[in-house]
Symmetry: C2
Subunit: 229 residues, 2 copies
Amino acid sequence: MPDLPKAVVLFSGGLDSTTILAIAKAEKFDVHALTISYGQRHSVEVDVARRIAAAAGVARHIVLDIDLTQFGGSALTADIAVPKGRSEGDMAAGIPVTYVPARNTVFLSLALAWAEALGAFDIFIGVNALDYSGYPDCRPEFIAAFESTARLATKAGVEGAGSIRIHAPLIDFTKQAIIERGLVLGVDYGATVSCYDPGLSGAPCGNCDACQLRAKGFRDAGLDDPALA
Amino acid sequence: MPDLPKAVVLFSGGLDSTTILAIAKAEKFDVHALTISYGQRHSVEVDVARRIAAAAGVARHIVLDIDLTQFGGSALTADIAVPKGRSEGDMAAGIPVTYVPARNTVFLSLALAWAEALGAFDIFIGVNALDYSGYPDCRPEFIAAFESTARLATKAGVEGAGSIRIHAPLIDFTKQAIIERGLVLGVDYGATVSCYDPGLSGAPCGNCDACQLRAKGFRDAGLDDPALA
């Protein structure tokens, strides 16, 4: 069997990134999963990510520590309350305080560093432009711009050895569509964690934006969330 | 006195970045210095950076740890020998093994994250396209592409609050010109360290590309390197 092409998958252990891990495997990539432990309030997701990556049988899983709390500026990395019980209208209006400054730029650049060291040209990221239309770094034009920059940033771009491709297969999916796609690929959503503000036990709060969007996704799909079973 | 605009300066404690720190101060920015401790072989530079930043009186200096040795792929982050005693012709031919995959993309993205958290729009980086014409992420077209991406990546880009500017004032300077510019601004090069492979004492090896390029810069300026005095 010929070697599969390598891909770096940005992987948090949440619903979206667990789905793209399954998509990358279904597209016959040799998956290298990268989890960034950035001091986020919901650090329980790092343990979840380790379990899911091991179960999925990835080629390698790196958990990279980087303390973005030194910069602050977000409810996920500073002492700012995570909003609870917001309406869909509130969520759609502007950029929430859970936005982490330049997070996807940082994540993609780290994925690019690993991809280049591996000789890989494919990077997967689970961004989604529908849930938070206000997140600047979830927009298709941002992903396209990063891809262009990445092609200039790397050795392969100079030597003509290949072109970096940023895959964002969920970018225009609803949460319902993401769940339906993942189920077809055999994803066990019972293992995933989406909550921005879980308790010490890792139990989801049920009221933050992430919990509400997840609940709506399962509801729209006519399913119960297996993580709440 | 009105508040000065804030800028994030990527600062290693080397000759180039110490010069841009002085340039940013001369241009009346409130300087926030960012040093990335990425597991580089020449980690002595982090201690040097702390001393120089303190002496320069920056508003804040963050040393951020990020272990790029997990990715490897470079003589600075893996067990690969640093080349010594190369001719100028060899240095000009291709990308050396001291190139760290996507390093400037990672560094700029972290500077962007801090800038956004600070509400700053100006980022300084000491890249130089002449010394290593082969480094993909020191080229002007890479810097321009990253700037475009950064404008899309951030809240300010969505809200129209301002545009990120990447300043690379040394990009087309010779090492001699950098030294001459710094001396006019009062930079003490005796405190800076450029070596890729210093001894445990921090003493420069004198033979790696960085040592040789630095020596040539002082020689061309008709000066002795004060760090060797």
